[in-house]
Symmetry: none
Subunit: 400 residues, 2 copies
């Protein structure tokens, strides 16, 4: 549904919608000819499929293998081809940095250069995160730029996130990592004339950083890439006229939820703590997005058995979700991560809507072959939430 | 997938993709209540469906009966509603005339006029192709136009193709066939002021032709229609970053393939020779389009049994195609031509993708009723090739 139409038709109600995203949910037949979901035989998810209405989502488009960022935007109801989230923005949101509308974000690597300025180690020996944190603290204190605020935060090992905040900053800058050693980091240049001032600021940042780090044997220089400004995403609570909360262990998903205007709830580091957080906040919100990471990480590792186990672990908690009595419970995936491919893929993703007003179909099992026969058909992921909100009677009639 | 996105995500690989188009593949239940595909019981195609992933393509749009031109453009990944190929262009490409970007093409008919200039036979007695060839040779030699090159080629019987080559030629000209006898061929006029110069050139061509043919009893005049310039189609090898070849017996399909930038391989006049050509060139290309005509011609003739036989003839050769070991083999049709309709139709067309990374579905037979349950669903034909290239790992990830 177009966002303008959502804005026009959405209507407040007292119903509650819970969207559970199992990251990389979709799979493929493994060693025994059955997919992860078939092998897992998840009896609670199967019951949701039996009682609810199933289908398969196409995350971004036919044949497109998506990253988790666009995959989630689609599940939040946004067309990921229209709203692109740049890598610098994902890196900053991924460490819970609260990006604002005037921010320009980049991903950074600490590297090591010799006396001649040529890179000897592009990753500074994969320096410990704590060391990177110390360096970031130093640069945060000592670097001063005219007319913009600067924020620098450690990510992991040699990686950091850099944010400039100010009016008129532009992302049209080149990447400065030459992708090999024995050469100097590239100069920052504007790839669009409108970005000349931003390029000058970035060069000044690099120059000051080089002076401050120059005495070090290791991690005495840096490279920057993935320059991006936050997309101006229409805000979810305003579009849908409701209070929306996100529960996610991993920072990137919290960051994405924050970009669309959801309240990000503090939670622990386990799925159990996510459920606890959900329960504690159940009365305060109309919509919840809850993220489950472990299906994807197992799939990415090519570990079929562990992905099966992750599905079973999620499945075991479904009764606790149902006990909250959501009007509509949605189980979805942001993309497929078949363990046999050890990678994200383009294959459509099983989904099920359970709760009020679902017209049941003949699907009895929540898996790839069966959900093909579901009442939702195969459809774009960005339409899933509008359908769910329809079931929650949060969309008014179109026309008379 | 939008072409800009293809350009951005396509990535070279060593995989090979073979697209086999069975012209007019889709059918309808015949005398015994079974479709041509059901009746044919093609065991090799059934095996592809069993092992691969099936679905049905909508050639151009819901309810649209398409010609082979737009039907093929869609299978090549282009939106046929965005890129229209005019009839003059199809006629010229249909006789292997290599159209260039500054060409204007028309379809021509030789006709017979009386001493009063009024048409006595719109088709010049369906004059023999060899006679039309002689007339074309004469006009090619003797007609001279200021500022443009002219090419005239026989097609079949009284029909010929006319091409003007030069800067600024415009297709906004009327058709000069009055569609009845007893009146003169119409004057050529510009239907847009920008085409005045082109109209004058075309009138000059007609005038010189009339003088050169005036002494003849038959085929002493001509009519022109279908004025068209070649569409500027983004080129397939550049879009997909690969080497693409076409193998087709019939000229129109070679012409269409040439328009999108495929190499058109010389081949014989039978499907056996097409396979031979495919085999001989297998190492030199990444993508092959192979065309099989006989399903459509039988369907158009309303010959149910012959269409069944054509499917079986193709089926018998599938092992030879598999022996080439393509990473991805796609079986598709450009449109349906149900024998019971003796015509093209709008019905969706069965398709199957076989090879690497296919997520299997419950389809065991390659026919209309069964492919409805396929993992690809019912989807736009222009998305088929992006999906196939995804299976061939020739599309990189979208976003992080």
């Amino acid at each position: 549904m177009e966002l303008d139409l959502i804005r026009r038709l959405s209507a407040p109600n007292t119903t509650k919608v819970l969207l559970c995203v199992l990251d990389g949910l979709g799979g493929m037949p493994g060693p025994r000819g059955r997919t992860e979901l078939e092998e897992a035989h998840p009896r609670h998810l199967d019951r949701l499929a039996e009682e609810g209405v199933s289908g398969q989502t196409i995350p971004v488009g036919y044949g497109i293998t998506t990253g988790s960022g666009p995959g989630h935007l689609a599940l939040f109801g946004y067309d990921p081809l229209q709203f692109e989230v740049g890598r610098g923005v994902l890196e900053a949101t991924g460490i819970d940095f609260p990006l604002g509308p005037n921010d320009l974000a980049a991903r950074g690597n600490l590297c090591t250069v010799g006396a001649d300025g040529l890179i000897t180690d592009r990753r500074a020996g994969r320096i410990a995160t704590e060391k990177t944190a110390e360096i970031c603290d130093l640069l945060q204190r000592e670097v001063h730029l005219d007319g913009v605020e600067m924020f620098i935060r450690p990510v992991r090992e040699h990686r950091f996130a850099l944010v400039f905040r100010g009016e008129g900053l532009r992302p049209e800058l080149n990447e400065t990592d030459p992708q090999r050693e024995g050469v100097a980091p590239l100069e920052i240049v504007a790839t669009d004339p409108a970005a000349e001032r931003t390029a000058a600021l970035a060069r000044e940042f690099v120059a000051q950083a080089r002076r401050l780090l120059g005495d070090r044997d290791q991690a005495n220089a840096l490279t920057l890439r993935g320059w991006a400004t936050p997309p101006s995403l229409p805000q979810f609570p305003e579009l849908w006229k409701l209070r929306a909360a996100a529960v996610a262990v991993y920072p990137m998903y919290r960051g994405l939820a924050r970009l669309v205007g959801m309240d990000v709830l503090p939670t622990g580091t386990t799925f159990e703590s996510e459920i606890e957080t959900l329960r504690a906040n159940w009365d305060n919100y109309d919509f919840f997005f809850m993220h489950f990471k472990y299906t994807d990480s197992a799939g990415e590792d090519g570990d079929f058995a562990r992905k099966v186990k992750a599905i079973q672990d999620f499945d075991a908690k479904v009764p606790e979700l149902l006990a909250l009595n959501p009007n509509v419970l949605v189980i979805a995936g942001d993309h497929s991560t078949p363990a046999v491919m050890a990678d994200h893929s383009w294959h459509p993703v099983p989904t099920v809507i359970h709760g009020d007003h679902t017209r049941t179909d003949a699907v009895h099992r929540f898996n790839e072959p069966e959900t093909l026969n579901g009442g939702l058909g195969i459809f774009p992921a960005k339409e899933l939430l509008p359908i769910a909100f329809a079931h929650a009677r949060r969309l008014s009639r179109f026309g008379a």
